[in-house]
Symmetry: C2
């Protein structure tokens, strides 16, 4: 009997064998039998881990989806829902960054095999749907809760966060998986979030300060009055 | 010899036959031979139109991609690039709306067949890539052209526009393809674009008007002064 960590190890072994055979001999000409043999297991064992050959290329998305869900469920009190989503998507990049070499090899493979590229697009769309669902269930405190555009903005915000993640991920993979991917993601998410927070809220942050001083006041007196008004 | 319109007709016929057989007998148990027979053509004719069985479900995306490209190339002078993208994506919704009944039948089929759903996600991602490329090549007049975040914002903006389109499309399909889809899209795009235009530009639209009137002025005098300042 194989324990949980044994299962995880076999899964990883099969995935590594698949990736290296695909890169060596091409995706189409590699069979499940060859992958199983390279990993030292039987053909039927392969299918206990992955329903198809192409699934072996993406072994970690299922467990990452669980991690992402946990972050969403553990939302902090009074936080903007979009902030929680930004924290949750860090789990996805963390998964890629944890094995930079494997991620870069997979990226190169995907650029050559359209079927795998399409599969990844579909896999990544699962995160987007999860975020949309979360944002729908947790309207922003700054938005009018029964705005008819709330479902629209939930979907658009989720798409924007995922696009920012994908942009950072792709740049990092193109660069060979070097550099601090997480820091780059945080920068990108800040830039995007600034554009996603309800505009009315942002407007209300633009307060206008009016100070009234006596005609004939000196510059210092005026500056003092302004400083006082700003504090 | 079959002319261009004959080709288009055969293509449409094959697609309609495929959709109706998939709905009737299930996607997996329908063969290309059955589709060809239902459309009154030979099996090898089918493959002259579609490389695979699943491609017959999406007959119009290739030509719509061409239409979208044409709109992007015909950009108006001095228009914000994001405005041009919003106009271009109308071509995609127009394609669905042109045959509401077929679109609704396909939508119902896709909800039952994950492989087809994934295929559609991949197809739609082609529009997003096209928009990202266009926005990268046409930086917004209101953004600093060499901002290091320009590529990020191009990708995020393209994703936001496509998400708005997908939201409107799905709502319209769920509603059975009734109602003015194009008007709903225009509304959604306006809402999204407001959030995507450079925030600094939006800020500069929030002018502050200060009017100075004599102490003891009547209400009418004050209102006159304000009106004057606003014009």
């Amino acid at each position: 009997m194989v324990g949980v960590s044994g299962r995880a190890r076999t899964r990883r072994l099969l995935s590594a064998a698949a990736l290296s055979l695909f890169a060596e001999n091409g995706y189409d000409s590699t069979t499940v039998d060859q992958i199983a043999a390279a990993a030292g297991v039987a053909r039927r064992t392969f299918f206990r881990y992955f329903p198809t050959k192409e699934d072996a290329v993406f072994p970690d998305h299922d467990s990452t989806l669980v991690k992402v869900s946990l972050v969403l469920e553990a939302e902090g009190d009074g936080e903007e829902p979009i902030t929680v989503v930004c924290r949750a998507i860090r789990e996805v990049l963390r998964m890629y960054a944890a094995e930079a070499e494997v991620s870069v090899a997979r990226y190169r493979l995907l650029r050559q095999v359209p079927a795998l590229r399409e599969r990844e697009i579909a896999v990544v769309s699962r995160y987007e749907r999860l975020f949309t669902k979360y944002l729908l269930a947790h309207p922003s405190a700054s938005a009018s809760p029964d705005s008819p555009d709330a479902p629209l903005m939930a979907e658009v915000s989720a798409a924007a966060v995922v696009a920012a993640h994908n942009h950072v991920l792709r740049r990092w993979l193109r660069g060979g998986g070097t550099g601090d991917a997480m820091a780059q993601l945080d920068h990108a998410l800040r830039a995007v979030r600034d554009g996603l927070v309800d505009p009315r809220r942002r407007m209300s942050d633009r307060r206008v300060v009016v100070t009234v001083t006596q005609a004939g006041s000196g510059v210092d007196e005026v500056l003092d009055a302004v400083r006082h008004a700003l504090n």
